[in-house]
Symmetry: C2
Subunit: 329 residues, 2 copies
Amino acid sequence: MVSIKDIAKHAGVSISTVSYALNGNPKVTEETRKRILAVANELNYVPNAAARTLKKRETRIIGTFLTTFEGSFYGGLLQGMKEIMNKLGYDLVICSGTQSHRMLSEGMLDGAIILDREFSDDELIQHANRGHKLVVLDRELSHENVVQVLLDNKAGATFAMEYLISQGHKKLYAVTGPEGTFDSEQRLAAARQTVERSGLNITYKEIPGNFDKKSGFAAAAQIIAEYDGPAGVFCLNDEMAIGMYDALKETPYRIGEHVHVVGFDHIDIADYVQPRLATVDYSERRWGAVAAEQLIKLIGGKGTAEHERIYVSLITGDSVRPANVNIDG
Amino acid sequence: MVSIKDIAKHAGVSISTVSYALNGNPKVTEETRKRILAVANELNYVPNAAARTLKKRETRIIGTFLTTFEGSFYGGLLQGMKEIMNKLGYDLVICSGTQSHRMLSEGMLDGAIILDREFSDDELIQHANRGHKLVVLDRELSHENVVQVLLDNKAGATFAMEYLISQGHKKLYAVTGPEGTFDSEQRLAAARQTVERSGLNITYKEIPGNFDKKSGFAAAAQIIAEYDGPAGVFCLNDEMAIGMYDALKETPYRIGEHVHVVGFDHIDIADYVQPRLATVDYSERRWGAVAAEQLIKLIGGKGTAEHERIYVSLITGDSVRPANVNIDG
DNA sequence: TTGTATGCGTTATCAG
DNA sequence: CTGATAACGCATACAA
């Protein structure tokens, strides 16, 4: 490995001069700077990140933590983050799994964006207490080193339920996410509230789900078992809605006819299933970009980083049709 | 920040004893070890990665480089890698963008897996020359520090073309990937060869594509413009095939009737489009796992890491039907 | 404008 | 079994 010491030797200067030259410090003549750069180039010099970090106590690397790499929501989100980070001179790496949490505590990261239920609130607070800067995308957490950038779950769930109700559905279901997860709780609360506030005589039931296809599949079975007329179903995410499509395919019941479904997330597949899935949409890219901006602000310490909310909108689709239309004619 | 020096002070021992204790070196009594660990815990000690790395010249972190985070093929691939790496005591981070290449050269990574056309062969060779260990998933590259783990593109493309031919199609198209990309070139070569070897009187044409939806959409336009009977199309990846579906939706032509399509990759959507897309399948998970294994072998220097091939298989679907059946009856 | 000296937190070698 | 001490490569305050 070639270090600045080697460069110094070859260029006939001291190592501090090399360091200055390499970092563009005006203390060194343009001339010697050029000479030193030439030598560095010739020797194939590459700075050593560990040494620099040890000294400067910063890596200019941000980590985003995901529960899993699987399930394809996050492309736009990460891309949005990356663009902002790169522009601001930071690099982004994506991590997953408890084992990788060490990167945060051991100081390999200048900050982190958390979208990962495997982090407990306690653990996050510990990290924040140690001075690490965090943005959370999946919970509410109050700490001077933490800012929240959250989806407007409440609005989304309200849109979804109001849509079903507006189409005349009186028998409603919600298929939930894993108990205790922030998104699930928030969406559920809003769904209930919407039903109550409607003032209509609505049957409303919740079926426990898990945010995965399988649980949507399972929920469909229950709905069919109880079937006694058109049902409106709010799947708290699209993946479960897709599971429901899969399940109904094997039965005489039809989506948008017997079972009316709204999802949440607007994943790619939603546009391709038959009939097209009604869902709640938001800009992943924007979400990522906002999160990145806030984190960098927090790290820089200048400008107050503030909690942010990401807006959502409803996308209609033929997976929901009026309850009182008799399709069979 | 609390360092081993602080622990030493509090525990009334020297820093080297602390280091030994923390690293489980048997040189230190079980008793003092416990005492030191207790102190460390109490002081909330966390080791400093930069210092350790500077000394040991290893991070136990592997980087996987992707061209983009968008487009959701890679979930299974990354998950497969992660599982193996974690089992072997390594952490995995995902990187994207030229800016992040510095992580490799600056020594923040013990090795890297490359699936990213933004790395030129030259750049990779430079890294390899500096002693960095690499696994390439997207090209052929000979170097003692590089091993290849490649899809069996040739087999896949042959399956796809043979399938179209076996269904009696005589007018064939291939929609290509970006010029110069390994996957595209390999699949194309095999496609041509299959046509030639068939010994049949087949019209075969190539339409330049870009591995994205848009180019599939565009290719469809050309095929329709020339339409004079059933056409068989091998889209060199599924994404372009989906673009073709989108394009035909706006025309009177039907997939599996006028235009018969085979893709490559078996992405999620392939199972949900109507009619179901015939495609070439492989285990992403296995691909990732094999890549990870080979890289760790290469890093460890023990056992010879060897180039590997990932097998593929054909999944049929109604996007391809016999050419001579008159569906309109 | 350039050089000298020191320390960042670890590991590891060598004496005790 | 434990303690000094020298690196690792770099940045920087201070001296020249």
